[in-house]
Symmetry: C2
Subunit: 480 residues, 2 copies
């Protein structure tokens, strides 16, 4: 295999495989600044698809996009104690502007609660001003000291962050769940990644939240990856930022708030979950290019006829809303092109050779199964549309099967440790709800409680750690 | 007029008027960090319209969106001497990451040439890799020391920056002009602002460019505002960043590059140009809300009939792709609502009262002319679509007339100074092409050469300053 191809196996060297796929598919590249990446055209295009889907959903439900400054004065971060402790260790600080030292150093936003809520205080007077439902797409800075990994953990990444204020806790609860459901829809229907949803424990919740809901996916190396969170902030921030309103009862009340976000990490998750030994495998709904057409001229016999047919095919597909590319570059061989587009994960390849022309057909190759099928010209567009849908649902089913296969129920701590070391994945176990047990397990095994499922299951053993009565079933895993 | 309304006249206190309009229309608010603003929902919605229009145009012409890091190592900025001098005085510097002092301080991008081109060097090997045509939408940091002004000059703003690399100067020249034409189309057809296009002088060109082309508009206070620039960077950056390619001739060559950008400044320009004493006046094509429907119940007689009719009207308009809002809030009076939506610049207001119901009509009020017209129900959608088009073109014509009225031809320096102090605007004058004359004029009057028009005009006098032979006609103005 040429340098263009992936030189390690996904099942054997997962981490190297991931890096190679990202670099060779040209999704991203390492930036000259340590811990940062460049989002190249193909990954940014996925991000744009995510934006389009999510923007539509949140605008339909009355949210509006805005943009707040990247700069957050240190004193703002200090206002909410837990929040400060959670984020300050990884802030990047601006200390000099132009040629002058700043009086107060400015953090580059690790998240925007504090800067946004200082404005909410100003904008909210009475119940007529509520709810406020805002969202912003922006860059986020977290000065990671752990090893960074493209899309999963970098010092700068892109995300959206939603921030809302409501008159009642009930409204805020509903908002948290409404957004979590949009995230689930986005991740499952578009990225074809099945997720588990539930609550975070007190230990794992967002710094400053009342409670945190989460979406967790399973990566092929057996580690969990948190793909999004939706928090009910309660009145924690409204109390420190003094965000009050005069209610219909003419009394003053603190608002109830939520915040929620997903990031470019989603791109990394899709790479990990769907990719194979040949490279990227993109779900059709997030692929900027869904179909690539490669002409296979044979000894220049009928070359023009083949190219004409390819152009016709291109037009036919584009007319039906399929995003297709015709790779008519003369300087590369068909074999080179097959490899190139396979690494890039394009869902369907269409080959057109002399034999296809003669038979009134094209040859299609599915990226997910590598299955090769001849399709008659007159059925082409319909067949391709169907095929793209099949690929989308096949990728989701495969991932769902992997998730279910790698979710193990255990009743004992020794069983827990064995599963964790041999197989990984999600481990379903019973827990007494004591933080100390949770912390000990983390210390001893590296696994954390990823979530407390919304769908309660019947307790089937004592607490996995202390052996006392358990009161709930939770999901553990090692996590990114 | 209530506190909600604008309390100063545009013609009398332009600067205060501008600030009031921006704050009271809720386009933006001052952020807690000095020199920064919050882009509230209504201004961000305009930015999204600009993004949609521009993205479509650049993608059609083969450009791709990407995202590069905000961090630029100081040594990168130092590589191109002019560029360094141009930007370093207004950089914000990150010196601390987490709890450690950085070894090399990092600038927050004032523009991204250097960080992008360090990657271009890596990505470009041979002629097959060219052209590269990238664009990014991002935040930009320039630590202004002059007084800031919402949208026009702030320490953080949003923009797009395009960066391309080509095999020949000719291709780069064509790219510069292609983009300039897209900008002209965007600004004139969408924002309804007429612009003059031309070249910058050597003194005024971009720091590091071979030449700069520009789009300049006239603001109602007689000052010019630069709305966009498109630069041919020549081989200045490719030489310092060693971006070479092996050509079809098998020789090594430096690439030719362009860069170009427009920013959220465009929003400020639209406010200045179209607004009036009642507030914002938005061109329909950039208005998030094009039509607002206000019910006018009379003593609660037939209240439900009026609301039903309003809902029907809303649906009818939305079905035709018009973005309409039904203001059915009971807690505000019709008069309050008229004022509210006028300040916000919504192009058309539809009033529905008992008389309108009886007569099978609605009452429309155009925001640009305040003209009130009854429209029969059966003609409603068609009439509104027409009306929105008329408003769009009326705003453009009015601005074009103002531009032409405020462009004055002068033959003498005393005439020049008189026009500048009494009337402002663009001053067309002949120039000998010597930088010293240009600098002296700037020093003595504050006016600069905004552009050398592409459409050459016949020289009609000696150099306005030195009296020697002039070789071209240029446009001077005081500028923001």
């Amino acid at each position: 295999m040429s340098e263009l191809g992936i030189t390690v196996k996904k099942a054997e060297q997962f981490s190297d495989w991931y890096t190679q796929v990202i670099l060779k598919s040209e999704l991203a590249d390492y930036a000259p600044v340590k811990g940062c990446i460049v989002f190249r055209a193909d990954s940014y295009a996925i991000w744009e698809k995510i934006q389009d889907f999510f923007n539509k959903k949140i605008k339909e439900t009355g949210h509006k996009n805005v943009y707040f400054p990247i700069f957050i004065p240190e004193s703002f971060l200090r206002k909410e104690a837990e929040h400060f402790e959670g984020f300050v260790p990884e802030c990047a600080w601006v200390t000099i502007g132009g040629s002058s030292e700043l009086e107060e150093r400015l953090a580059l936003r690790p998240t925007s609660e504090t800067v946004m809520y200082s404005m909410f205080k100003k904008w909210i007077r009475g119940w007529r001003d509520l709810p406020i439902k805002l969202n912003q797409w922006c860059n986020i800075i977290r000065w990671e000291t752990k090893a960074t990994k493209p899309f999963l953990r970098t010092r700068e990444f892109l995300w959206q962050e939603g921030h809302t204020a409501h008159a009642t806790k009930d409204e805020a609860d509903k908002e948290v769940m409404a957004i979590l459901n949009i995230y689930k829809d986005l991740i499952e229907s578009q990225l074809a990644i099945p997720v588990l949803v539930g609550m975070k424990t007190e230990n794992e919740k967002f710094a400053g939240a009342l409670y945190t809901t989460t979406l967790e996916a399973l990566m092929p190396d057996g580690k969990a990856l948190q793909l999004g969170t939706s928090h009910n902030l309660g009145q924690n921030f409204s109390k420190v930022f003094e965000i009050t309103f005069i209610g219909e009862d003419e009394e003053e009340h603190y608002v109830w708030q939520t915040s929620w976000g997903v990031s470019t990490r989603l791109i990394g998750a899709a790479v990990m979950v769907h990719g194979d030994d040949r490279g990227l495998v993109l779900p059709p709904r997030i692929a900027a290019c869904q179909v690539v057409i490669v002409p296979i001229p044979y000894k220049n016999v009928g070359r023009e006829i083949i190219l004409d047919k390819a152009r016709e095919v291109l037009e036919k597909l584009q007319d039906r809303g399929i995003s297709a590319t015709f790779d008519d570059r003369e300087e590369y061989t068909p074999g080179w092109k097959f490899n190139h587009w396979e690494v890039k994960g394009v869902p369907v390849r269409i080959e057109i050779g002399p034999r296809d022309v003669k038979k009134g057909q094209v040859t299609t190759v599915r990226r997910d199964t590598l299955e090769k099928v001849a399709v008659k010209d007159e059925k082409l567009a319909d067949t391709i549309i169907e095929m793209l849908e099949e690929i989308q649902s096949n990728l989701f089913s495969r991932a769902k099967e992997a998730l279910s296969k790698n979710t193990t129920e255990v009743e004992t701590y020794s069983g827990f440790k064995e599963v964790l070391s041999k197989k990984g994945g999600f481990i379903k176990a019973c827990w007494c709800s004591e933080s100390t047990c949770e912390e000990k397990i983390k210390e001893e095994t590296g696994a954390t409680i990823r979530l407390i499922p919304f769908r309660k299951e019947k307790v089937f053993s004592d607490c996995i750690y202390c052996g006392k009565d358990a009161d709930q079933v939770v999901l553990f895993a090692k996590a990114y």
